[in-house]
Subunit: 102 residues, 2 copies
C-alpha cells in the first residue's frame, strides 16, 4: 500500500449554489471507492457555471466542455477508469447509466 | 484577494463509517465560511477512531486528544478563529454552543 491513493477534486460554482450537488457526488465517490480513493476535495469557485472533476489533477469532467452535469453513474465510471480499472460497478456497468444506481 | 484562501481538511475513520458525519461538518463549514474557505478535503483513514480537523495543516480538533467529537458550533468557532477572526457567527457566539445552530 505504498502507492499514494488518488485524490479526487470537485470544483463548483459557489454562486450557483452547487455545493450540495458537489458534496453529494463527492460522497457517492467516497462511498463507491472506499479504500481506493485517498481524498475528496470540494473547491468553491466564483467562476460562473464551473463544475469540474479532477483525479490527481487530471480533468475527467468539465461542465463547460460537456455542456451538462455528469450522471452519477458515468462519473463513477470515469473515475473508476482512472483509479480502479478492475472495480466492477455492478448494474451501473451493465445498464445504460440512467438509473441513478451504481 | 491575492492571498490564498485557507484549506480545511477532515480526516475520518472510514471503518467507523464516519464519512457522513465528516461530510456534514464539512458542508457546514463550506456554508458558514462561503467566500472565506478555499477548499474542504475529506480524507478517509483506516486508523480506528480517528477524527481530525485541520486548517492549512494545523490541527484544530482531534477526537483522540479531546476524547469526543466537536459540537458543530465549537468547530465553527475554532475554524473561524483561524480563518476569519472578524466573522460573527451570530447566536452561536452568544449562546452556549449547544443549540446546533450557527
Amino acid at each position: 500500500m505504498a502507492t499514494p491513493k488518488p485524490h479526487i477534486a470537485i470544483t463548483y460554482c459557489r454562486l450557483c449554489n452547487w455545493m450540495l450537488r458537489a458534496a453529494w457526488m463527492g460522497q457517492e465517490l467516497l462511498s463507491t471507492f472506499a479504500g481506493e480513493a485517498g481524498s475528496l476535495t470540494l473547491i468553491p469557485d466564483d467562476t460562473g457555471g464551473v463544475f469540474e472533476v479532477r483525479v490527481d489533477g487530471d480533468l475527467v469532467w468539465s461542465r463547460g466542455e460537456q455542456g451538462r452535469f455528469p450522471e452519477i453513474t458515468e462519473l463513477k465510471q470515469l473515475v473508476r477508469d482512472r483509479i480502479a480499472p478492475a472495480h466492477d460497478l455492478g448494474h451501473a456497468d451493465r445498464g445504460h447509466g440512467d438509473s441513478g444506481d451504481g
